[in-house]
């Protein structure tokens, strides 16, 4: 509403009032990119740069890593803080979501499709979607069976062998 055109300027001024550290916290993101770029830079150099007549495997990654490091380095200084969202306690929920997806993959390899699919749907519907139990379980069963029919029976995708599928597939 009333801030001056350069929002980043405002941010900087205001944050001086608070904590200098917190206002610069967002710079971690470009710094991470710089670190990644430098890492790639050194790895690429080790692969062998060759020369223009016969470029080595490392030449192209090297050039690209230079571009990444360069742009990220400038961003460390110029990127305005309003581009960044603050961290919230809800971030924990994301960890939960990620763990559930990881478990899904592990179970998928061990148990085939149907059981993990049911579990994942049920979890996401009930916990993250806040659906009532009845809906969650019903939809999870229907979804798992439906996708099994679609992918395995209709499209013939070779899923890992399941423990339940033989019963279902006949």
């Amino acid at each position: 509403m009333s801030a001056p055109p350069s929002a980043s300027g405002t941010v900087r001024e205001r944050s001086r009032d608070r904590s200098v550290l917190a206002s610069h916290l967002h710079r971690i993101a470009p710094l991470l990119l710089v670190a990644l770029g430098l890492l790639a830079l050194f790895q690429a150099r080790d692969m062998g740069l060759g020369e223009l007549t016969a470029p080595g495997p490392g030449l192209w990654p090297f050039l690209v890593a230079v571009l990444l490091t360069g742009t990220a380095a400038v961003l460390v200084f110029v990127d305005p803080a309003e581009d960044y969202e603050p961290w919230t306690p809800a971030t924990v929920r994301i960890m939960g979501g990620l763990v559930s997806l990881g478990l899904f993959i592990v179970l998928f390899e061990a148990l085939g499709f149907i059981i993990p699919a049911f579990l994942m749907l049920a979890l996401w519907l009930r916990v993250f979607g806040r659906e009532p139990w009845r809906w969650s379980l019903g939809l999870a069963v229907a979804g798992a069976v439906l996708f099994h029919l679609l992918f395995v029976e209709a499209l013939g995708v070779p899923f890992p062998e399941g423990v339940l599928e033989p019963v279902l597939g006949g």
């Binding site: 007549t53 478990l103 916990v127």
Partner: protein, 323 residues
Amino acid sequence: MRPLRLLAALVLTAVLAGCGDDAAPDAEAVADYPTEEIRLLVPYTAGGPTDIAARALGQYMEEQLGQPVVVENLPGASGATAYLELISSPADGHTLSMTALPTAVLNYLSNDVGYTREDFAPVGVVTQVPSGIVVPADSPYQDLESLFEAARQDPGAITVGTPGATNTHAAETRRITELYDVPLTVVPFEGGSEVRTALLGGNVSAGFVNLSQDLLPAIESGELRVLAVGTEERLPYVDAPTFVELGYPELTQSTTTFGVIAPAGTPEEVVATLEDTLRSASEDPEVVAALEERYVPEEFIGSEELGQLFVETEETFRDVVGD
């Protein structure tokens, strides 16, 4: 949270279920082979030459062996994905894979891909596709000598397109430079059709490619000219001399061999049964027509010779790939 407890219980079940898997084949199973469905892995995608060969073969094997043969495409990592699946399967003849030489060997020579030829039990050869050096119709080079001469005159002037970076054609072209001191620049493309595009557009001087079925019409119509073929003897369907008769006796390693392999440790009786099936397939007119008659070897190449070929290929290319 209740779902989580349920999840934990299921993880436990999964772990327990994972422990009771099948072990080595017993003697009884060997005698009755095959006792169940056979998986025939294809290291490339559906629709390609390897896949088509596998399907023709699979159908025949199904009729002969009396068990279903399921063709499964596992493309990736130049075939390593399929080979790794093969060697991690029980060595009882119920999991087989198609293979393409020398790619299968070059692959493990140039990178650590988790397998070598010693992990395989060769069964037999299905088809062999020859290769050759081709130039576009308007190329100034009428024969191999003038092409090589131009290269010696001006190193770097002659560029040779190949269908890949680590395949036979690239390796064989480098061998030309190494063995006969002809400075050729290898320019790898993605697949034979890209090499053709580059030839037609005049972007490379020559191409070293498989004389496969998709290329033959262009050769017959005169759009492309074959300067030399990489076989021991002349080919009945291509009017071009061999490298051997042109004075390059070493250049006979570029033919691609498609074969069938089983995991190492597969019982000899099982391999023998499969070898017999392949041999009779190579004599069955219907299968031969499906495989393309030109590419089916006149004399069947069996388990032992295919094993030999693996060894020879490895010896030939070990040094080229090393550097």
